[in-house]
């Protein structure tokens, strides 16, 4: 659009410049207003929750020298988890006062290790990792022994601190 007035060109350019900067500024603001919450939402799960102490059972339930599989409710479980909200651990009572709590996850790639009581070994069905009864590495590809959870005895109960899926950089 052209105006007859002499100064029309400069006003027009000024208006265009203003419009351009307003568009860029407002656009940036709008992108941030919508984008920050979206990114925040997507990365929200990076906020970590700590493992929690949970009761694995009475101390008397664990015979000395035996390793038992114990099924528990994951203390971090939430609505809609179904069976996935459960967690299994191996409890080994080496002697009267010594317990070892192992994660069922192989330290190689996380498959469920099986306790074979007769052989006294944990065996992994995925890539053939094998561990001794004290959780140390026996053979196969695992880079370390079984993950162990923190535990304590309190008023005849065995308490275990667990919740997260153990991995190499975040063991029990």
């Amino acid at each position: 659009m052209k105006h007859a007035t002499s100064n029309s060109n400069s006003t027009d350019e000024e208006r265009r410049g203003l419009l351009k900067w307003t568009a860029i500024l407002l656009g940036g603001l709008a992108s941030a207003a919508a984008g920050i919450p979206i990114v925040g939402f997507l990365f929200g799960p990076l906020r970590k929750r700590d493992d929690q102490w949970t009761t694995a059972g009475k101390v008397d339930e664990f015979p000395v020298g035996k390793t038992r599989l114990v099924d528990l409710q994951n203390p971090l479980h939430s609505l809609g988890d179904g069976d996935a909200g459960k967690i299994a651990i191996y409890v080994r009572r080496a002697d009267e006062a010594t317990f070892q709590i192992f994660a069922i996850n192989c330290t190689h790639l996380g498959c469920p290790v099986n306790w074979l009581a007769d052989a006294g070994l944990f065996m992994c069905p995925c890539h053939g990792g094998v561990y001794y009864e004290d959780g140390s590495h026996a053979s196969g590809p695992p880079p370390r022994g079984l993950y162990q959870y923190e535990h304590r005895l309190e008023k005849g109960d065995l308490l275990v601190k667990l919740g997260h899926l153990p991995t190499l950089q975040q063991p029990g």
Partner: protein, 493 residues
């Protein structure tokens, strides 16, 4: 008739398809495609057809599927047994996914071997690599959505590998799982990935891919001795197209026949074999699961077992990245020159070696001889002909052999685990002292049994192993003696 024409004219006046779509349909392709060689050009269309089948069946499945950890398994069973044609939708979705992956690799190999990725079609190839990644991503996330034991432990294996990334490993694990453990958030994430994110990216890449196929034209069948030269290619191709045939109907009919056969095969497989799974309930407390990935990931599964510990992190995390960059680099490394496979021995060798490697690794993954066979001792008793002639001590040894789960890793007469050697004829290879040492101390990737067996059990076990030595073979004098029958030691029966 007049009404139809009126409606058509009304639409045409608004859509102007005669000016836009029709020329695209009629764009010229090399005349050679009208010859039998044209059958080599159908694989891309077949991949696309399977993708369309995936979209339609996927939408149907999404109407019933419940993407929550609590309900997913039940909704799969509902689809299998209750929803009308639900089992067929699941079956077609699974077999069409298989078909899509197969045809994608066939298409890719054909494009590579015929040098169709060369100038000026480099970008078509690179976008195709993106499509490959999206397809594999969809295959994996789809396997997770089939929420059963394999799916649960599949995620577990994937995050265990991702957790090995230096420094940010734990954060990646957290991000993938959407929390601290595999739960409701995890499945929702994979659902979103499978139905929104990956298909979205795939469609965008596909649009570019098809645009480039039309714009840059379909490559002519290669002739040995006619290399691609950037300076002259365009001119030659233009000249070729002057005698070209229109894409529709000639080339499209061939595509149509191949795609129809593909769809019929997929639907037939879905009807005859049915859908895959769901298998065991996805419950982390059911530890007797023996997870196996879907066939397309069996080579990766095998590689994780067979790679030496020092190379493991590299093979798990580095190799896939290098592989993708290598694929992307292909048109830049060999973007001009000979196109015919007859003049490109290296290219042919690369394809052959890749396929053979994948097949061997896949076969290993399917049979997994490295894994202990958990139920070997209960499923396969010691063969009767072995037990029949045993002394009491040797019999005791046979029992020790079963009870200590030796069978999980060692076979007797072929049955049992294959992680260690078959022990039927171990007496030829090892003398009793060496056997005792092997059992007690372990070694050679065998656990030490010092804590698990007393000396009487070890003695009985070794007596049993020695006794099994087949007739006509001398007992081993020194540890690891060579396996050679001694003619002089032959005993008359």
């Amino acid at each position: 008739m007049n009404t139809i024409k009126q409606v058509w004219d009304w639409l045409e006046h608004r859509l102007e398809l005669r000016d836009s779509l029709w020329p695209v349909m009629r764009h010229p392709v090399p005349a050679a495609l009208a010859k039998p060689v044209g059958w080599w050009y159908v694989f891309g269309s077949m991949t696309l057809t399977f993708l369309m089948l995936q979209i339609v069946t996927g939408i149907c499945l999404a109407m019933v599927y419940q993407p929550t950890a609590a309900d997913a398994y039940a909704s799969l069973e509902y689809l299998n047994y209750e929803a009308p044609f639900g089992w067929l939708m699941r079956g077609i979705h699974y077999w069409s996914a298989t078909g899509m992956v197969v045809m994608l690799f066939v298409h890719m190999s054909q494009v590579f071997l015929m040098g169709a990725y060369k100038y000026p079609r480099e970008l078509t190839w690179m976008v195709g690599v993106g499509l490959l990644l999206m397809t594999l991503g969809l295959a994996f996330s789809g396997q997770v959505l089939r929420y059963d034991g394999d799916s649960y432990w599949g995620v577990s294996v994937a995050v265990a590998a991702a957790g090995r990334v230096p420094w940010i490993g734990p954060s990646i694990v957290h991000f993938i799982l959407g929390g601290e453990y595999i739960g409701s958030e995890t499945l929702s994430r994979f659902f979103t990935l499978h139905v929104f994110i990956l298909p979205g990216i795939l469609f965008a890449l596909l649009a570019v891919h098809l645009y480039l196929v039309v714009k840059r034209g379909i490559s002519e069948p290669p002739t040995p001795g006619e290399p691609v030269d950037k300076a002259t290619y365009h001119q030659q191709y233009e000249k070729l197209l002057e005698k070209g045939i229109p894409f529709f109907p000639h080339a499209l009919y061939r595509d149509g026949v191949a795609c129809a056969i593909g769809v019929l095969v997929v639907v037939a497989l879905a009807v005859i074999v049915g859908p895959k799974g769901p298998g065991e309930i996805p419950d982390p407390t059911l530890i007797h699961a023996e997870p196996r990935p879907d066939w397309y990931f069996l080579p990766v599964f095998a590689m994780a077992a067979l790679s030496p510990p020092s190379m493991e992190a590299f093979l798990m995390l580095g190799l896939p990245v290098i592989g993708v960059f290598a694929l992307l680099a292909v048109p830049f490394v060999a973007g001009t020159g000979e196109r015919s496979a007859r003049r490109r021995p290296v290219a042919v060798l690369v394809v052959l070696v890749s396929f053979v490697t994948f097949m061997i690794l896949g076969w290993y993954g399917a049979t997994s001889p490295w894994s202990p066979e958990m139920q070997a001792w209960s499923n396969a008793p010691v063969p009767q002909n072995i037990v029949a002639e045993l002394s009491p001590v040797e019999l005791q040894g046979a029992i020790v052999f079963q009870n200590k789960c030796c069978r999980n890793c060692h076979a007797l007469e072929g049955s049992g685990g294959h992680r260690g050697p078959d022990l039927t004829d171990v007496g030829i290879r090892m003398n009793p002292d060496a056997m005792v040492r092997q059992v007690v101390q372990g070694g050679g990737n065998m656990p030490a049994y010092a804590q698990q067996m007393n000396s009487a059990e070890v003695a009985a076990l070794v007596a049993f192993l020695v006794k099994m030595r087949p007739e006509g073979f001398a007992p081993a004098a020194v540890p690891s003696a060579s396996v050679e029958p001694l003619a002089t030691a032959q005993v008359a029966p």
